[in-house]
Symmetry: C2
Subunit: 248 residues, 2 copies
């Protein structure tokens, strides 16, 4: 983990639709960039994955529940309804529009990951994938099938966080890499043993990819080359168990 790192944007992907072969589109795009090499990590924005998986809802087909209407106030109760459907529980609320929820997958994020931007017009909502780890594994195996190359895959999304302003991209789904680097028991350069230090490398890799992806420019993926995180874990490994979490 001490060489140079490169983060290469994958351009030229079309507007995505349900059923599109995202793995093939990524392999094609990589050919026009720096190709793919064993050990590369392909980071794909959650929205791209959700679109090809059909995780899209149209507002005009949603009937809000009483609870959604009550919470919505002047906001669109149909959007609140979808957020509630995606949520295991509400963690914090600030009326009228901020809902921080624990999603059914266990992520804690604004609006349970339900997003209106980048959708096909404002009447459409994009939900998180049903299982981002499965999505990552599927992309990984499709990329291997088409290119013969073993890459890691991260499905990423922009999350806010307590205490600090702005979003950073984090890893929702992970395949073919260790999302956490455990330093426990290693010694630092002065011989002092580090205690219980885990680095969330998958989140840092997702954040690095965001820097070249850009929200508004239609670059939904990037290749990160030069990170050495062998092993295999899942995005679920990054979730703090409720009982250890002091902020839930």
């Amino acid at each position: 983990m001490s060489g140079e790192l490169r983060v290469i944007p994958l351009r030229g992907l079309p507007e995505l639709d349900e059923g599109d072969d995202l793995g093939a589109l990524l392999v094609e795009s990589a050919k026009n960039a720096a190709g793919l090499e064993t050990g590369d990590i392909v980071v794909v924005a959650q929205k791209a994955v959700s679109k090809v998986e059909g995780r899209v809802r149209h507002l005009d087909q949603i009937e809000p529940s009483d609870r959604a209407r009550e919470l919505a106030g002047d906001d669109d109760a149909r959007r609140i309804e979808v957020i509630l459907q995606e949520s295991r529980r509400i963690v914090r609320m600030r009326p009228p529009t901020l809902i921080i929820a624990e999603t059914r997958h266990g992520y804690v994020c604004a609006s349970a990951g339900v997003d209106q931007s980048n959708a096909k017009g404002p009447s459409t909502l994009i939900l998180l994938p049903l299982d981002s780890d499965a999505s990552a594994r599927l992309l990984r195996s499709r990329i291997r099938e088409l290119s013969g190359v073993d890459v890691g895959v991260i499905v990423s999304d922009s999350f806010g966080r307590p205490f600090r302003r702005g979003t950073t991209d984090v890893a929702l789904g992970v395949a073919g890499l260790s999302p956490l680097l455990d330093l426990e028991g290693r010694r630092d350069s002065t011989g002092y043993e580090l205690h219980a230090t885990e680095i969330a490398v998958a989140d840092e890799i997702a954040g690095a990819a965001e820097l070249v992806m850009g929200k508004t420019e239609g670059i939904p993926a990037a290749v990160v080359r030069g990170v050495d995180v062998p092993g295999d874990g899942s995005g679920q490994d990054l979730l703090m168990p409720s009982e250890r979490d002091l902020f839930r």
Copy 2:
């Protein structure tokens, strides 16, 4: 922000002491790597900055207060005393040893940023810089003086966060770049206007740098090349004001 990004480790720095010319050491190290170019961002680990600034305390010179003794339980009350001195307030505690504090600078982090690892033996504590933004500005101006090149500087540290396991590196001090990229009012590729989206690019850059720095290998800095974040802000810009924070 759509070209390729490179993250280049800066190696060969000596063990640091109070008064060392860190700017000169970074410029020297960069000469042996990929040099420095206008627009590069130099990310420096907080510990390196704290050491040259003398932000080091020796445990045997600390007299713990009654409160520190009470909170410490079986832990070293002198360490707890230093944490209390660095804190504006305690945000969460889990006995015996986990204290999440708001530091006097406004960061929310474990042990108020007081760290025992990488110190000169286990009887030494390293504190956060008194003013990481001032540290970043000073390094930036020293680097410009020695190399003639205008770089951005980030002083970074590894912070845990609620809800998710592992630490990610974040920006404590910032000079010569915009730490937040504001997407408000921009339109995405489908013409839908993004609302109130800010990306904490300085934190993502700090995290990208961590991937090549490595806690245990004596690489306290990295150059990030290819991020376009013009402007000038401070690390304080990244702090969520208490009154807007739902988790304090």
